[in-house]
């Protein structure tokens, strides 16, 4: 009797959590399904019924979008921006974080404080800052499409620095450096053969996350009137809703794939490692 009531009690106790999980599944999956339908189904919603539901499915919307000249130019710009942003981030933050650890522990609090400042100045405020500072002082700089990259580095800095810093803390940097140096390795060799391989997973995850954020970034690009993939998607949506929705779906799939790759590539020792976010 006691056994049964115990099992019933445990079962009843799971009803709440199960309902929460089911409701969440509906809320998070429904918009993706409706987007897939809007992208590939050529029947207006008003005419949708039992008979039309299975007709006119096609890839035509996406195909139209692919034929747009701007699709390719903006996509290539966004990909280049992602690569440049990641490169600047690594070249700037890895040496800085290592330097703070090895030579200047006193500066840690200050550097950590500075790297989280972009949280306080969100992209839309940074845009106002660009208008206030760069427009009057260095307008020429904003003419280049690649002017976006340094601002993306700043935007991503709170989590990129945190990830790099965590990667350094997880390994015994001091011992690795001393071992490599005492074996006659130069600083460059030490960095390349001892430090970077050990930090690879944290560097990779911050690189992937940075790339996905750059690919979807709209606020700064739109305000500085740059034709990136995100601003193109937005503009194209108003001309051709089906093609625009197809692009949105494509971006979503690509983003998920990138983040999934990041999880797979960096899943080493700590299986329970927290999923990375912008925050």
């Amino acid at each position: 009797m006691a056994k049964i009531s115990g099992r019933v009690k445990a079962y009843l106790g799971r009803i709440g959590p199960t309902l929460v999980l089911l409701a969440a599944a509906v809320f998070f999956i429904a918009p993706i399904l409706s987007t897939a339908r809007a992208a590939f189904h050529k029947v207006p919603t008003i005419l949708l019924n039992r008979h039309t539901w299975f007709q006119k499915w096609s890839l035509e919307g996406l195909r139209r979008a692919f034929k747009e000249e701007y699709f390719w130019t903006t996509l290539s710009l966004s990909l280049k921006l992602a690569v440049i942003t990641v490169l600047i981030t690594m070249l700037l933050l890895v040496p800085t974080a290592l330097f703070v650890h090895l030579k200047l522990p006193r500066a840690r609090a200050l550097v950590e404080f500075l790297t989280v400042l972009p949280y306080v100045v969100p992209p839309i405020a940074l845009v106002a800052g660009v208008a206030a500072f760069f427009r009057p002082n260095a307008r020429w700089f904003l003419n280049s499409d690649f002017a976006l990259a340094p601002f993306y580095v700043v935007m991503a800095m709170p989590f990129t620095y945190r990830a790099i810093d965590a990667g350094i803390k997880a390994i015994d940097v001091r011992t690795l450096v001393d071992a490599s140096r005492s074996l006659g390795g130069s600083w460059f060799t030490t960095l390349r053969k001892a430090l970077l391989p050990n930090m690879a997973s944290s560097l990779l995850s911050s690189a992937f996350l940075t790339a996905t954020i750059v690919l979807g970034e709209f606020t700064i690009a739109n305000s500085l009137a740059k034709n990136t993939f995100a601003t193109f998607s937005f503009e194209y949506f108003s001309r051709d809703a089906q093609g625009g929705v197809g692009l949105a779906l494509l971006t979503l799939v690509a983003t998920t794939a990138l983040l999934g790759m990041m999880t797979l590539l960096t899943r080493t020792k700590s299986r329970k490692a927290a999923t990375m976010t912008r925050f």
Binding site: F27, L114, L126, V130, F279
Partner: protein, 302 residues
Amino acid sequence: MGALIEDESPHGANGPAAPRKRFGWTWLGLLPFFAFLSIFLLLPTVGLIRKAFVANDSSYTTKGFTDAISTEGAAFWNSFKISIITAILGVIFGTALAYAAATAKRPKWLRSLVSAFSGVAANMGGIILAFLFLTLLGRQGLGTKILADNFWDPYKSWFSINDFSGVVLVYMYFQIPLMVLVTLPAIDGLKSSWREASANLGGTSFTYWRRVGVPVLAPSMLGGFLLLFANAYSAYATAYALNTQSNLVPVKISFFLRGDVTGRSPMPFALATWMILFMAVSMGGYLVLRKRAERWQKSAAA
């Protein structure tokens, strides 16, 4: 070696001269970092704050700063309401979802699925998110059609994807996952031995939550609330894509920047300065609480 001496020097009594010399040269290693941040973050920020306090005749005044809040009061109020509502709902549903996922035993992959999906959704935002919901609950959306045909027409009552109700609903799509990511480690940090200890001492489930569970989770939940508030308050792209005329502070900043060709009006800069103030309070609180919350997570990992 070098680091040893440096670590000790502040405590040592060898006079100010020696440390100051070392101070100067070692800090040069951080020069690229400081220079980069100054050019691309600090100077623009100082520039925009300065512009918020400069009048048309280039005299300093606080008029623009106070005018911003009186003439754009409605935008402030809307942004504030949206941020508070989505943050509260996000904390409630996010914590519930994280708890449900963390305690579920049966499908083993459930927890990692929820965690991985949250990583994608919390980072999504932007215009893609607006498109997803336009296809579902826009006027011609599939969900609108299904609801209107069977139960209730959302557009004949209070709902519209382009106004306040729509923005709240769409923001939940990134607020809930963000909260999941904030609380999941904290919930993992609740050790089952604590619950057993509480039960052995005669505590009920209620006592456990009141004395152990909630106090341990509180920093994460409060921190999560502040983070979600800041996140919604500064979100621009989604609101703009849903309705380019949204009366929200971020959309207004962009509107005034565009409209102001001369760059003289302090309005967009005053609005941005207010936003920075809001962000400083909420994100500052979040970062402090995150440090506190990580204490339990470290002890749980050990």
